[in-house]
Symmetry: C4
Subunit: 252 residues, 4 copies
């Protein structure tokens, strides 16, 4: 299987923006994109499977066993302001470094095929101690012009590493002639953080101009929390920190 | 070698059900399928080898060094009630996520080639504290119709992850146009649990209608215990729990 | 690179026996085969390189940086009693399960090409506490007939796992139509154990009938100790035990 | 992606020496080669990408998200004394053994294509306690003749392992008909060590005869420190030691 993209249709999109929403710190991107999919009634048009995803099945209350997967949704602009979207949603990132590179490659291949030239990755930036209200936004970008877009949304420049797909996708995007920025909100990081998700989505929407009701975002956070519970992933700050610490160990 | 299926014959089976019986929690599936193979005198018709299996040899009292392997057996219905079976038995699952996906793919390929449309995976569900007598059954399925079959056997819906081959096989089966359910019995999980094995097998037999004597199942449990001893795997609850804990650590 | 065999010549051998001598517990096989190579003045005829070997260079007193490698030597019988030999010597085994399977496959391919039908793997069997003098011998084999050969050398049957190449090679050998046994001597395991090496070699020689002086085996043990020192591998019983413990953790 | 070399041009070089400067202990090679690139205004002519590099993006003060990469620079001799150079600089080595072997293979392929027959790898040799002033130099080489070159620079022979790309590249180089030595300076190892970098570079320059000002090397050390900070890699002696300890655990 390795990593394969299965498209059920190839939507006809006009200069779409890809929004990345895989699970990560605070599940910020996950909540935000689930909300978008719900609000926009975005149709699913594809799936990405990888043998670098978790090797278990997950069930929810209905007893249906699901394998871990990433899903692709699209949205056609409903007026002159809205932008066409590709939304990447899922319940896992790849488990290995090689798997993450392979996944990014497949996502960028797919984006390129759909005439996409811009990517926004969303995420959380873990902060110890008290988070300001509203949480501060941070950004990085593939190039100065795209960075300016992100700064104009009220984000400030992040220094250091941006872990996972949110960072790697932006880092690699220029190799596919795609520009992108990541938008991260401060979060304690160990629960499904609706406030952080609202912050990144509201900011991104200054570019997307989507007519989407942000009040129901709490529902997406609750659903995400339920999904996480079935993944055994609620309130585990200790393990996550250890995982994070691992990233600091370089091979030298 | 990677992962390869070697068939010594291609049995002519009529809508067979595949029963998965690889080692897992409480060795429930392992005991149950070993018992079936013994009782039904099921002939072995194939073997699956993988370089993701353990890289050691195992010997038993007779001094024969064996490499880790999975084996395929079949059973032809002996009357109008019994179902044709494919039985997957073995002494290991794959050691890596990629290896598990590859193994599942090979199993499902083989099932499809043998005109199999239904899979039952067996297993244990680890429970701390006292297990009810008889142990409770849990299930999940690839689809609502198959779930109903499992619920009719007296199992209740499991929520959360189903680790290993028992979960992944059911999760992935629809991609091969195969339906399936898993049937898990409560177990403390750190020894070869004959009671749990009897419970899942007795329940599954309401569908399979096999004329198999369940009284001798204790013998299969003993044999399994002996095999495990040669694998150095008896009474190691601590390591198993740590392994399990690992599964909870997501990469995010 | 992955795993590749480079032969500088294809020696013309008559029903040779392959002796495996890669580093393992107590470096028993390593010492024994180094001694054979020295005593028999066996010419090197090939090398096996693998990207699953250690990724560092080793230097000894002469400042030459060497990459980790396995080497192939041969010996032509010098009289009617001696057997032709293929000797596998090296400074590492593969670091991963997949790497070990690949290495075994390459070794068995090479053996088959050289008309070899018999393998003897040597090794140590770690024992806590006092080792009897001389150390006891243990064995396992690919088949009953070959097992008898090993038992006739004074070894008793080992039950349980045989780790590493010494076990896997014997386990897999029948798939290449090769028969083999492993011969393990008790050892505390954390230093280059000349006594254990002498014991396995003397026993094996009842089959090989080599006119080799065993008195100089201590020199091979010293050289092995020197090599190990350059690998930073002398007296580290703790880490080795942890590694060993790891092997007991199954994925279930 | 795996591991791929992208050349923007193929420079016409005369018997160039390849200088390896990837991050390692004390970032000695990293500082030294960054200084050379700055001083010589060496043009970049290629990039090596690998899915065995870190799977994150790094940003610095300017907000540009960069993926981990290795870069190739060249220098044309400006007089009869200077040597043509290929400089390998980067912000990571590969994370896995297989990735390191693959990376070395690609580097040596590229060197061979550019008519390079000599490699110098630079690095630090971690020493506990007080480092002598100036730090002592150590070396190892692919062959006796090249070793003599290194000894003539005032280095003494290192015994034991040389970890990472600095060792493996020298160890493997003869397989590409390339000769090389490594030059390591004593260092406490857990910060960007300008003194050690100056020492190896000054020594190597006795061969390279580069007209390069060593006074500005502190600037390269500062830049390296800044880059490391953005990688979260300043002052983490504990983790590094643990990593190092891991290397001592052999699979046996």
């Amino acid at each position: 299987m390795v990593c394969t993209v299965y498209l059920t249709e190839k939507p006809d999109l006009n200069d779409p923006i890809l929004i990345e929403g895989l699970p990560g710190i605070g599940f910020v991107a996950n909540i935000a994109t689930l909300h978008l999919i719900n609000e926009l009634k975005a149709p699913m048009f594809g799936e990405i499977r990888s043998s670098s995803f978790q090797d278990f099945a997950v069930t929810s209350g209905n007893g249906k066993a699901r394998y871990p997967t990433n899903e692709l949704y699209y949205h056609k602009a409903r007026d002159n302001e809205e932008r066409d979207l590709i939304i990447l949603y899922g319940n896992t990132q790849a488990l290995t470094t090689i798997g993450q590179y392979e996944l990014c490659g497949k996502i960028l291949d797919t984006a390129q095929d759909l005439d996409c030239h811009n990517i926004i990755t969303l995420g959380g930036l873990r902060r110890e101690g008290k988070i300001t209200e509203p949480p501060k936004l941070y950004c990085a970008a593939s190039d100065p012009q795209t960075l300016k877009q992100a700064l104009d949304l009220g984000a400030q420049i992040i220094e250091g590493q941006i872990y996972g797909i949110a960072g790697l996708l932006i880092g690699l995007s220029p190799l596919w002639n795609i520009q992108g920025f990541c938008l991260l909100a401060e979060t304690p990081g160990y629960y499904a953080d609706a406030a952080a998700a609202r912050e990144v989505l509201t900011a991104a929407n200054k570019i997307l101009h989507l007519k989407a009701d942000m009040t129901r975002l709490d529902k997406a956070a609750e659903t995400t929390h339920e999904i996480l519970k079935s993944f055994g992933m609620t309130s585990q700050p200790t393990e996550e920190k250890e995982k994070e610490k691992e990233h600091y160990t370089w091979r030298i």
